[in-house]
Amino acid sequence: MKKYILDTNIASLLGGEETKENRKIYEKFYQLDDEDVVMVSIVTLYEATYGLKHSEDEEQQEEIRQNIAYIRKYFEIIPLDLREMELFADLKVLYKKKTGINKKAMKKNDLDILIASTAMAENATLISDDGIFERLSEIEPKFKWENWLN
């Protein structure tokens, strides 16, 4: 049994019209075993719900509402809890040291590091096309990451 956490962009693309880009995600889904677990971070639901409330297009709102409903129906939602606390702190310190990133730029990565620590706490592979996760997986081998759009 394998565990995966879909990042927001991947969960959104899964609901999109089929393109050359997201076809690769469908192919991955076709290869999953029934026993595999697919999850999303609570952060993804926060972001999608913000998108829903922020949209002024009724048709678009309905599409996002439907996407949120699918996510809640089929995927396990992972809240933030105490298990991530130390993982997050360690990962942030490590990232800062290894990259020498300045304080201001570092702040933009906090949520990404939080999601990465959720994946580590769940012993799951994070699925994302965001470049920061590739860098994080290089400096912290315990963090597993895959880009299903490649």
């Binding site: 927001t8 962009n9 959104s12 693309l13 899964l14 609901g15 999109g16 019209e17 089929e18 393109t19 995600i25 469908y26 889904f29 076709y30 999953l32 075993d33 029934d34 595999d36 697919v38 952060v43 993804t44 926060y46 972001e47 999608a48 913000y50 998108g51 922020h54 949209s55 678009q60 599409e63 996002i64 439907q66 996407n67 699918y70 089929y74 304080k103 702040k107 933009k108 906090d110 949520l111 990404d112």
Partner: protein, 91 residues
């Protein structure tokens, strides 16, 4: 319409089998080949076909429920939240 199947030249190197075939009529050989082919086709069709998995069903159900514009819009919303989120450093 008559359908023909040309199997080309079949070389039988096993002496016993060659002798066995030699002693058969053309019709008997045709019948044996037909039986053999039928048997192969049956074996293939008897193989269990893989059932569509749970996650394939989910992917198919979700596919196309949002327009490309909405997917792009959600991406910008996500980026807005990620870049706007910060853990404040108090002095």
């Amino acid at each position: 319409m008559q359908v023909a199947l040309n199997l080309g030249t079949i070389n039988i190197t096993n002496q016993e089998v060659a002798k066995f075939i030699q002693n058969r009529s053309i019709d008997e050989i045709k019948s044996m080949i037909t039986d053999f082919l039928n048997n192969q086709v049956n074996i293939i069709s008897n193989k269990p076909t893989k059932k569509k998995g749970k996650w394939a069903e989910v992917a198919d159900e979700m596919r196309g429920t949002m327009s490309s514009d909405t997917v792009e819009y959600l991406k910008t919303c996500s980026q807005e939240i990620r870049s706007g989120f910060e853990l404040r450093d108090y002095k």
